[in-house]
Amino acid sequence: MNRGNGRQTLSELRDLQHLAGAVIMRPLSRRWRMQSTWTDKRDMRTVTAEFIKPNDRLTSFERIEIYNRQYWFRLIDSFYDDFPGLRAVLGRLKFNRLAKEYLTQYPSRSFTLRNLGRRLPQFIQDHPALVKPRFELAYEMVRFEWAQVEAFDGPAYPAVSVDDLLGNNPAKLRLALQPYISVLELKYPLDEYVVRLKKTGLRGDASNAMEEQTHEHRSKRRIPIPRPRKVFVVVHRHDNSLYYKRIDERGYRLLTSLNKGATLGRAIRSAFVAEPEPGRSRPGRPGRGRPGSTNAVAPDPDAALVREWFETWTELGWFCKPK
């Protein structure tokens, strides 16, 4: 380590930044302090004294520790801003542990903190022990909250209007959803839960996924954890405000099918596939005792209902031309 005895080279500057960066981004101890030993088991005091000057009040260790702690506090704060619902279902300690583990594996690779949580849904799937016993709830919450980050400032393309749809052959017409829209099937009514959380002020003001009108009626009351109930929710924005819109299962099937590239005609048909009778397999899949058979016949699409959906959805600007 060059301690100022000779002119530093660019390569030495690079090495110094690697070392200092590794120290600053190293996970904190359980007490939220800088760890006392380095990766090679050397005393951290010795390691930091090699490149950081002490002063008359602080040791080298204490001076770089300020940055080490700032790094973790800043990232975890940002993480909390984007996932307040996750913290509410996990509790502070478990949330902080998850954040530390996740950010150690996936530190920020972008100039903006906006993308910090992008890999969290997969990370939770890979590390279910970190969120037990609420794996399913935590996983669903992360999907829901990440959808809000995307809806807040994701790109938007020119919207397709109802007039644009008129006269098109549904068998050939393809539409895509705006990139900021997420169509979710959730195992819990998290939209209701998060709205109640927001009213208690659990969402941080710096959140990417924040709405501004959340400061009324705050209380310290605990919101009970939601019970499982399947819901279908579209997370979107309108006039640049964030919204959750409930849809039914048929609407969910139609939108996801369209977004996967199906033609309008096929997407509508997929929406109105009949539900299997209890105890029987889904339509289109082989039945149990009768190989190759189907157990339900798709009913005719409800034309009035489909028209109503599309009037609403196009008014909300949900559709764009496929790329």
Binding site: Q8, L13, L16, Q17, A22, I24, E62, Y71, F111, E212
Partner: protein, 291 residues
């Protein structure tokens, strides 16, 4: 001196940072403010509320971009996607110049999101100046670099912080965003004379000044931007504008943000100091003409 080639010959007056809690007040009351500073990275997104608000602000006000993530002092390659987005924002805001910090903060594409102190070496100065020039060439606007507050120093340093700042800006031929509060904070943390700093930088390169509040801890001072400006910083500011001339000034208030009026009132205190220097200059000019 206030309007110079480093700030695109602008003389903006006194500005404040555009912050979310003030959006509603600004958009509905339309207060008189000389200019707003935005944090560039908060608006380098594709769409949505941040850009909608920004566009509304741009209809009424002069906006100057201030960045926190160019990391001129890093040895990483400059992120082209980041520069592309920044340039798109420059076109949107029509900022006549922009600023970012004299610091590093990324290693091999991993970002600390902090303003880390530089080792004050010639190699670092050369690397930093090269990156400032690269960014300025790409963005096609002048760049001014801001001195950061710091809590640690490197053994390897070969010069003082103000010598390093001078070395970088001379090599890059760019301007300085002189953060007076940061000088004060660092002077307390490292034990140097802040006036020696102020006296020994190239004053003609100062294109803008920052003032802010800070927090005192037992063994160090932290640059928290959550207080009014403290008296020693106002004193230094008065000295700085005597040296540099009446320069566009911005008050930073980023945490525990009070009402818009309170922030603006605090910023306008700078007027007293700017006015005094302007008067002196006018008197001197008058004396020169009548002599």
């Amino acid at each position: 001196m206030p309007a110079n080639r480093f700030n695109a010959f602008t003389d903006l007056g006194i500005g404040i940072g555009l912050r979310i809690p003030h959006y509603n007040h600004i958009l509905t009351k339309k207060p008189t403010v000389d200019w707003f500073e935005i944090i560039s990275e908060n608006y380098m997104c594709d769409a949505g509320r941040p850009l909608e608000v920004l566009d509304q602000i741009l209809e009424q006000y002069q906006v100057i971009q201030h960045g926190v993530a160019l990391y001129f002092g890093s040895t990483d390659r400059v992120d082209r996607d980041q520069l592309k987005r920044l340039k798109a924002l420059v076109k949107r805001t029509k900022t006549p110049f922009l600023s970012d910090h004299l610091c590093w903060g990324s290693v091999d594409g991993t970002y600390t999101h902090d303003l880390l102190p530089m080792p004050y070496t010639f190699a670092a100065a050369r690397n930093t100046a090269r990156r400032v020039r690269e960014a300025s060439d790409y963005l096609e606007v002048p760049i001014i670099v801001e001195n950061v507050s710091s809590y640690a120093e490197f053994h390897v340093s070969e010069m003082t912080e103000w010598e390093f700042l001078t070395e970088v800006v001379e090599r890059a031929d760019c301007g300085i965003l002189l953060d007076v509060n940061n000088i004060y904070v660092s002077s307390k943390n490292h034990g140097f004379d802040p006036y020696e700093y102020l006296n020994n930088i190239p004053h003609h390169r100062v294109g803008q000044m920052h003032i802010a509040g800070h927090s005192k801890y037992e063994k160090y001072i932290l640059d928290t931007h959550d207080h009014p400006v403290l008296d020693p910083v106002w004193k230094m500011y008065a000295h700085a504008i005597r040296k540099c001339g009446p320069t566009s000034t911005l008050l930073e208030w980023d945490a525990h943000i009070p009402s818009f009026e309170e922030v603006h009132r605090e910023a306008l205190k700078a007027k007293k100091f700017l006015g005094a220097v302007k008067e002196k200059k006018d008197d001197a000019a008058l004396a020169a003409t009548t002599a």
